[in-house]
Structures are given as C-alpha cells and as structure tokens.
C-alpha cells in the first residue's frame, strides 16, 4: 500500500441477522483528504465508518489502517478520532477534562496534557470555556468540544458521523466552513458521513455516494454532479431531468439517443455505450437555455410552458416535452429576465450535447 493511502477497505461486507448492510466494499482513503460518505439513511455509510473506528466489525473482508490490517484490533488501540452525532461528551467532566480524556487514557505527561488541551481548544476557539460543563454549552459549542477532543491526540484519521445534524441551518453553514478550515489547518484525514448533499459538496475533496450498502461512485464533487455514472447518483445529487431511450449512433465522446417517445437527443457519454443500448439521458435544469441562442443548440425544442415560478434569484419553468410532462428549467434572474415566457406561452428551449449526460445503469 502506498504512503498516500491512509486506509483501505477490501471486500468488506457487514450483515445484521442476514440483512446485508454493507456489501463487498472496496475503496481507498487518501492521506489528508476530506472524504464524504453520502447516501440516504440505511445505505450503510455509518456502518462503514464504525467498522473503521472499531465499534463494529465486518462480517467478512479486510480493513487496513496505515498498511496494517485492523480487523480484530479493539477501538481503543486504533488511534482514530470519532465525532458522534450527539457529541457524546462526558457530562460529569468539564470541557478541559473532556478534551484531556484521550491524553489521560494514554498516560501522557501532565505538562504535555495541559499544553495540548489548550492548543486544541484554541483551535476550535473555545479557549476561555475550559472550565465550563458540557451542559452549560450551546449545541455548536458542544460540537467544537467534541472536535477538539477527537483531534487532541493526533489521530491517523478523524471520523465524523453527521456531526452537524442537530444544529440549525445558520450554525450548520458556519460550522461547515470552520470544519473545512480546520481540515486545511491540520491536514488530517477526515471522513464525514452525511445525508445532506449540499454539505458533502461544499466540504469534500471526494464524495462517495452510497446506496444499499454499496459505493456507486467515489469522485470529486464536480464529477459527482456533472458526470454521474449511475441513475442513482444522477437522481440523488441535485435536480435532474431524465429521458429514457435507446442509443442510435455513438461517436468518440457523444452519442445520439432516441427516446421512447421518438425525441432525438445528443448527449455525452462516459464510454461503454454501443448502438442499441437502453440508456437514460440526464439534463440539469440550469443547463437548459430558453429563447435566443436556445434554437441553435444541439438539442432544441418548441415546447408549451406549463408554469413559471419567480423565486428571487432564479425563475423556475415547467415545460412539457413528448413523453416527459414536466421538464424543469431553472434560469438565473439576471441572465434573461426579460425574455422568459409566461405560463401558457410556447417557448424555444435548448441545450448543448455537453449539457446532457448518458447513464447506462
């Protein structure tokens, strides 16, 4: 295993009472990256995390940390920091005692403990609260104590299990930026479990999309969004318009798809398509143009507008296409505020081949 891989899952499966929660997972975690495990609840992402922490053990397969197999090694010998969903702060210990706990458990020298606790608390901007009790802190502050406690002992990896789930929206967005900042500052590998795609997109170097115990795609947020490799990823992340059809002709990067309702769409493919394949074509609502240049795009259609909803920074149009009664179009307010059609009118919409993505499964 090369040096830039901090942890590796090899054919890892986990089942509870015969139900497979994680199935045959194989992937690497790169040293220093911020990796999000994104998926709906019950998709196996938390179980995947807890198997690395040592709080659950795989039914089969192997997990490596820094090159060594760790299945069977108890959690307290793994040197992995975990931030739990409900923070799991010790209610009978002060903030300082909570943060020094991992160092005391390791019998670190007293002076060293004092120094590192102070450093960690300053890192999360809680220095002055060292003598407070967890019960006296706000949710955001408790979250920071949990972070400081998980970072203070210099773990190989820090695992975060939906740590912002209990916070309100405003605080959540602030904490996202702070976490990202903390990641840059410490350079420590962070694995972040979330069901919130926005959160995964903002913070991550890579996102692993989970569904039914499998990773469907693990790549940079831009690729997850713009080049989904499966129906699930295309539909789970962001909004998408879907057309199903059959491939007619294939070029190097593009292909022609005839939809089930006889509409021809030019789209890019990621390879592995042949004429005659049944595929899905996805077009993001914001990639569809209206009026003007729309008529000159690779894909251009005259469509009735069903609805136009003004939402401040953008306007949302619902248009009808053959076999697709509700195609969503999202137009930025400043772009073409004046020429947007109203409900009941007919409009020209269009998108380039690059804006449409073929997905085979």
């Amino acid at each position: 295993m090369s040096d830039d891989i901090v942890a590796r899952y090899e054919n890892v499966s986990k089942d509870y009472d015969g139900v497979k929660v994680v199935s045959d997972l194989t992937f690497d975690i790169r040293r220093g990256e911020f990796l999000s495990l994104l998926g709906p609840s019950g998709s196996g992402k938390t179980t995947t995390l807890m198997m690395l922490a040592g709080l659950q053990s795989p039914s089969s397969g192997n997990i490596f940390l820094d090159g060594r197999p760790i299945v069977g090694i108890p959690a307290h010998q793994r040197n992995i920091g975990v931030v739990f969903q409900n923070y799991a702060l010790f209610p009978h210990m002060s903030v300082g005692e909570n943060v020094s706990f991992p160092l005391r458990a390791r019998r670190t020298a007293r002076a060293e403990i004092a120094r590192r606790v102070r450093e960690s608390l300053e890192m999360v901007q809680l220095g002055p609260l060292i003598d407070r009790w967890p019960g006296e802190l706000s949710g955001g502050q408790q979250q920071r104590v949990a972070l400081a406690r998980a970072l203070v002992f210099d773990p190989s990896v820090v695992l975060l299990d939906e740590p912002l789930g209990a916070l309100d929206r405003q605080l959540r967005e602030n904490m996202q930026l702070e976490l990202k900042q903390l990641h840059r500052q410490t350079g420590i590998t962070m694995i972040y479990v979330t069901h919130d795609q926005g959160e995964a997109m903002t913070m991550s170097d890579r996102v692993a999309v989970f569904d039914q115990g499998r990773i469907l795609q693990c790549s940079a947020p831009e690729r997850i969004y713009n080049a989904p490799e499966s129906r699930f990823v295309a539909e789970f992340v962001g909004e998408n318009n879907r057309f199903s059809g059959t491939v007619e002709t294939v070029d190097a990067a593009e292909c022609s798809v005839r939809t089930d309702d006889d509409v021809r769409i030019r789209a890019v493919h990621g390879g592995h398509v042949a004429a005659g394949d049944a595929v899905q074509v996805y077009v993001r609502p914001e990639r569809i143009e209206v009026g003007g240049a729309a008529a000159t795009r690779d894909n251009s259609f005259q469509v009735p507008v069903l609805d136009a909803i003004f939402l401040g920074d953008h306007t949302r149009l619902k248009v009808a296409m053959p076999g697709h009664p509700e195609v969503t179009v999202k137009r930025n307010f400043l772009d073409d505020a004046d020429d947007l059609p109203a409900a009941g009118q007919t409009a020209t919409i269009g998108w380039s081949a690059q804006a449409a993505r073929v997905v085979t499964h």
């Binding site: 959690a75 307290h76 799991a88 991992p102």
Partner: protein, 269 residues
C-alpha cells in the same frame, strides 16, 4: 378536581403515617406497658421518660442484635450491590442475549413466597453446613437483596448513554479505564441508592433468618419478635422509633442521590 385530589393525597399519607406517629410518643412512656397512661394523656412530664431508650442501649441482648444486623446487613448489601451493579450493566447492554429470562431469574427471589425460599435454603444449607453461620445468613440475605439493588441500578442504567462508552473507547480508553472514569461515576448515585435499599432489605428480614439462623445471630427484628412474645415491653417501641428515624435518614439520603444522578444526566438536551 385538584382539591379533591389533594385531600385524597393527605388522607393517604395519614393512613400510612399515623400508626407510626402513634408509636413515637408511646416510646417515651414512664410506665411498664404499651398504652397511653392517664399521665401521658394529661401531658404530665412525670408520664414521660427516656428509660426505655436507656434500657435498650444498655441491654446486651439489644446490642448484640444491633451488631448482628449491621454485620449481616452490610455484608449482604456489599455482595448484593456488586452483583447487582454487574447484573444491571449486563441487562442494559444492547448485546446481552435473553434479557427477559435473566431479568426473571434475578427477580425471582422477590416473587417467590419468602417461606418457600427459607425452606429451600434450610434444605440446601444443611448439607453445606451453613446453618447457624454468618456466612449462610449473608448469602441468604444477598439473594433477597440483590433484586432490589438490580432494580434500583437498572433504572439508572437504562438512561445511561452507551455512546459515552463507545466514545471513550475511540479516545483510547481500555474497558477498565472507561468503567472507572465514565460508567462508574455516572451511575454511582444509583449504586449507592441500591446499596442502601439492599441494606434495608436485609435489616427488615425476619423469616429466612428464623429458619437458618442460630440464637447468636439474632438481628434487631428477631429481638423485637422475641420482645413481643415474652413481654410487651415499651423497649420495642423505643427501638421502633429509632428505626423510623434511621429509615428517614436513609430515604432522604437515597432521594438526594437519586436527584443528583438526574442532575448529572439532564445537561444533555
């Protein structure tokens, strides 16, 4: 509605407490028998004295009973609390199989008629040569007191956040260190309350001890029974009054501990 409810509560308390309150003045009688003398009713100071307290506290019989009660009670409470704590932790841990069955087995001594248990212990202890020994009585009282300890500690363990144990292990604490620094401090008030109730169970027990105890092991309630049988001496009332006082202190202590354990747990919202 509220007033009716309050009246009911007050009546209920009176029903429970009046017999006890009636005993207390009578224990200060200067007479020889267990009844309110005309002098007492007239509130004549001559009708009152502390002579029965003096009698109890200077009687070798009573002092022996107190010593036995303490020895047996503390012994049984100690063993019952240790076993009860371990059992309560095991019963509240998610991974324990057949919890229902274990709970039933542990609580059995509280459900089976006490005479049946006493008879069974008498039969079993005969062969083991435990009849008439402190060891035998402490074992018997442990069996009776452990369920009480388990119930008390279990109530607190059920609110215990096992995530804290998981967190401690990821932070590098081995199971023993975690138990010592996380689990134990958080359930300690419940454990002490459990120990108090276990001690009270032993202190109160009069049936089993008559089967398997010897005269030398007579405890306070046995001495009271003897006193009642032989001569209805107001000394028993003096002992009863002291026991009531003791029980009040114990209950207040237990309640304080219970509140404190709640206070520690409430900060998590």
């Amino acid at each position: 509605m509220k007033i009716v409810f309050r009246i009911w509560v007050v009546l209920g308390f009176c029903f429970l407490a009046l017999p006890l309150l009636a005993i207390i003045p009578l224990s200060f009688t200067s007479g020889q028998y267990m009844y309110y003398t005309p002098e007492m009713l007239a509130l004549d100071p001559a009708g009152y004295s502390t002579k029965w307290y003096t009698a109890v506290l200077t009687s070798p019989d009573w002092l022996m009973a107190v010593k036995n009660s303490l020895l047996i009670g503390l012994g049984a409470a100690a063993v019952a609390t240790i076993c009860g704590t371990l059992a309560a932790i095991g019963l509240s841990w998610a991974g324990t199989p057949a919890k229902g069955l274990w709970t039933m087995l542990i609580l059995l001594p509280q459900i089976v008629p006490i005479v049946v248990i006493a008879g069974g212990l008498f039969a079993a202890f005969g062969d083991l040569r435990l009849i008439g020994t402190y060891t035998g009585i402490i074992i018997a009282h442990t069996v009776l007191a452990a369920p009480v300890a388990v119930i008390t500690i279990r109530a607190s363990m059920d609110r215990f956040d096992w995530n804290l144990v998981a967190a401690a292990s990821t932070l590098g604490a081995n199971p023993l260190y975690t138990f010592r620094t996380v689990t134990l401090p958080l359930v300690r008030p419940a454990i002490i309350a459990g120990a108090i109730f276990a001690f009270a169970t032993s202190l109160d027990e009069v049936v089993v001890i008559q089967f398997i105890g010897a005269y030398q092991q007579k405890t306070i309630p046995i001495q009271m029974l003897i006193g009642l049988r032989e001569h209805l001496s107001p000394a028993i009332l003096a002992v009863a009054t002291m026991l009531i006082g003791f029980a009040l202190v114990v209950i207040l202590l237990g309640e304080t501990l219970r509140r404190r354990s709640l206070a520690i747990e409430t900060p998590k919202k």
